[in-house]
Amino acid sequence: MEQLKEQLKRQIIEALNFEGMKPDDIDSSAPLFGDGLGLDSIDVLELLVLLEKNYGIKLSDPAESKRILQSIDTMADYVAAHRTK
């Protein structure tokens, strides 16, 4: 699971173009939106693309997406259970 979290952090840094940021700079339990990493609505779309492209996971329910994309921890849990690639 730790390896998956590390991988997700690297993919998020690349997809969202956080220049100079390292995986260790992201707290796995911290919120990705608002006070945490400070992501916004366009970033939600980027994360949905990231999950589909890398793990074959398609999220269409906004409420479910909001719950899954809360933090690296919640993303990793969902990916581990539902990934198709």
Binding site: A15, G38, E46, K53
Partner: protein, 342 residues
């Protein structure tokens, strides 16, 4: 109606966001004038910068610099011209479409691949909710933006405008246009390639910092040269001018022997062969919106009352500068005329 050019800012092959290009320009390299980027940290937050390609960063830096120099916080209009928009991000989007079978595409690259993303993102940066328009008309894109600006002033809808021209050159675009014979090749056919990032603040009021007046703009597209000459004579006439009333003609000569001859023929037919002339594309390179550098040059010549030798073309003696005509063309097909006055 006269609008006034209150400030200009550029990022080009010259020193970025500086006025050194006027007094000590570096000549363009033989085939390509890639721009020298500025430090963008002082203009854009890291969170905003991560979604911006280099052209958007140049647009932000030039726009904010021009606005600051004109002491304008929020303009009444943002009107830009771009030939191809943000090509770096467009290429990324198109490459991803091809490689990923049109699925799982980045929304950021999609947003940035649209032509009007530059003007709209500057509006977002400034929180400017007023008139916002983009002209993507190849070689008359910037001139169309300037024409719209002037029309907005004439209609009384605005009192300030942020106008600009933006185009970037990626290695991919350079190669494609090279194959199409745009850049310097055998027999001096082709120009030196360039990029454009120019912002200027226009005002209906003649402020203390105003460089010059923008008197008139006209386009003449797809017409043979004799008709272009007639259109130019009509343009001067509607401004109450005889050809001898202009003190300098700044042309968009770019060193391409195929098209520079048409500037010679046009200027000679309307003004005779003794009209003082200037050019600028040997310094900034050719791009769809390179005409913005010509306006920048004309504004500085009128402000300072002098034309330095790097920009002179021909041997005609210059006198005082009260009125300058700019003539630009895209491959001798689409022409624009701009009249500036002190």
């Amino acid at each position: 109606m006269t609008a006034y050019i209150c400030s200009t800012a550029q990022i080009s092959s010259q020193e970025p966001l500086s006025a050194k290009w006027f007094t000590a320009p570096r000549e363009c390299a033989e085939r390509c004038c890639f721009s020298v980027d500025a430090q963008y940290g002082g203009f854009i937050s890291p969170m905003a910068a991560r979604r911006m390609g280099k052209l958007l960063k140049r647009a932000a830096a030039t726009s904010l610099t021009a606005l600051r120099e004109a002491s304008v916080e929020i303009p009444d209009a943002i009107i830009f011209g771009t030939g191809l928009g943000c090509m770096e991000n467009s290429e990324k989007f198109l490459s991803a479409m091809k490689e990923q079978g049109e699925e799982c595409l980045s929304p950021t690259y999609f947003i940035n691949s649209t032509h009007n993303t530059i003007a709209s993102q500057i509006a977002g940066l400034l929180k400017c909710h007023s008139y916002n328009n983009t002209y993507a008309h190849l070689g008359v894109s910037f001139e169309s933006a300037l024409l719209d600006s002037l029309m907005q002033f004439e209609a009384g809808r605005i009192s300030t405008a942020l106008a600009g021209g933006y185009d970037e050159l990626t290695p991919g675009v350079f190669d494609l246009y090279e194959k199409a014979g745009f850049w310097h090749g055998v027999g001096k056919q082709g120009a030196a390639a360039g990029e454009t990032a120019v912002a200027m603040v226009l005002s209906s009021e003649k402020t203390d910092s105003a460089k010059c007046g923008l008197e008139d703009v006209a386009l003449c597209c797809g017409r043979p040269l004799p008709e272009v000459a007639l259109a130019l004579e009509k343009f001067l006439d509607r401004n109450g001018l005889h050809p001898s009333d202009t003190d300098l003609v700044i042309t968009g000569r770019n060193g391409d022997v195929r098209y520079d001859e048409s500037y010679t023929a046009l200027v000679d037919s309307v003004f005779g062969n003794s009209k003082p002339q200037a050019c600028y594309k040997h310094v900034f390179g050719e791009s769809f919106t390179a005409g913005a550098y010509g306006v920048m040059l004309g504004a500085e010549v009128l402000k300072h009352g002098r034309l330095l030798s790097p920009y002179r073309f021909g041997t005609a003696e210059t006198g005082t500068f009260e009125r300058i005509l700019l003539i630009n063309s895209y491959r001798s097909r689409d022409w624009s005329f701009i009249l500036l006055a002190k």
